[in-house]
């Protein structure tokens, strides 16, 4: 009965390129996931009043959500976030962390005194989007 043997030679450089190349297959896969999470976050983001006198136009928070890939000592990653700040003309909290306040309801300064049409709209949009896409894999 013939017996066969095989040697497996690991090419460390090729594995390194596969795992750490930002434009490589792993980076491309992460980018594909980031596009899906970004789209899901945009669809979940609250939209403010259209006639707000002191705020940004309706849909501002949604429009600011984006993603970018990166590479650090631990490997490839993608950041999905919104840099949205409250308007410079907001008399109470100019340039406030508007994106974070919506993601974590109740964290805005003077939250208890905000009108209901603002607080009713607050809801997380980034984390649920991430969970939904990961859950679908």
């Amino acid at each position: 009965m013939p017996r066969f043997t095989a040697d497996v030679i690991l090419d460390d450089a090729a594995i390194d390129r596969l795992l750490n190349s930002p434009a490589g297959p792993v980076g491309e896969y992460l980018g594909g996931l980031a596009v899906r999470v970004t789209a899901a976050a945009k669809s979940r983001a609250p939209v403010g009043a259209r006639d707000s006198r002191f705020g940004h136009p309706a849909g501002y928070l949604r429009s600011q959500i984006g993603w970018q890939s990166g590479h650090d000592s631990r490997g490839l990653f993608v950041d999905i976030y919104s840099p949205a700040k409250s308007s410079a003309f907001n008399p109470f909290t100019p340039f406030g962390d508007y994106a974070y306040w919506n993601e974590v309801p109740g964290t805005a300064p003077h939250h208890s005194s905000l009108p209901a049409w603002i607080t009713d709209n607050e809801r997380p949009y980034l984390r649920p989007a991430l969970e939904s896409v990961i859950g679908s894999l």
Binding site: D12, A13, D16, R17, N20, S21, P22, A23, G24, P25, G27, E28, G31, A34, V35, Q64, G66, W67, Q68, S69, H71, V78, P83
Partner: protein, 163 residues
């Protein structure tokens, strides 16, 4: 015992790309050129950010360095993507044009480097869009070796086509 020479790969690749005909400068795909480090993304045109990533290998004849490029462009949503993609594609073609030829470039520090091959490329792939800015990615492995000055090069000879 042979001394393994690490060459200024970043500087050599930078010189090669900045002097590649029709790639950088006003009116060309990479209008704002290639830089090392974080770019200030221009309101028009594209700029490429270059960094060396692993693996880096050197033996007693050649030095292999893998470069990663992030091509940034700003503008309207689709416009930024188009500009970045167009610039990244031309950057990729300029890199791959090395294969089958070899060029001698002089880095800003004055070292002469022979670039032999650019291969094992990945991309261009879409690398993100954020705040009106779009990014495309391209990675490529460059093989280089130290070189003497090409025949006829003056002390100011620079770029693969000069000298």
């Amino acid at each position: 015992m042979p001394v393994i020479e690490y060459i200024d790969a970043e500087g050599a690749i930078l010189t090669y790309l900045m002097t590649y005909p029709g790639l950088t400068g006003t009116g060309n795909p990479l209008a704002r050129g290639v830089i090392i480090g974080k770019p200030h993304v221009p309101s028009t045109g594209a700029i490429a950010e270059m960094s060396l990533i692993s693996p880096r290998r050197a033996d007693d004849t050649t030095d292999d360095a893998r470069a990663s490029f992030r091509v940034h462009a700003a503008g309207g949503e689709q416009r930024a993507r188009e500009v970045a993609e167009y610039a990244c594609r031309h950057l990729a073609m300029a890199c791959r044009a090395l294969t089958g030829t070899n060029v001698i470039v002089q880095t800003r520090r004055g070292e002469w480097v022979r670039l032999l091959v650019a291969g094992e490329s990945a991309g261009p792939t879409f690398g993100g869009e954020f705040g009106g800015e779009a990014v495309y990615l391209f990675d490529c492995l460059f093989r280089a070796m130290p070189s003497g000055a090409p025949y006829g090069a003056g002390s100011y000879g620079a770029g693969p086509y000069g000298g």
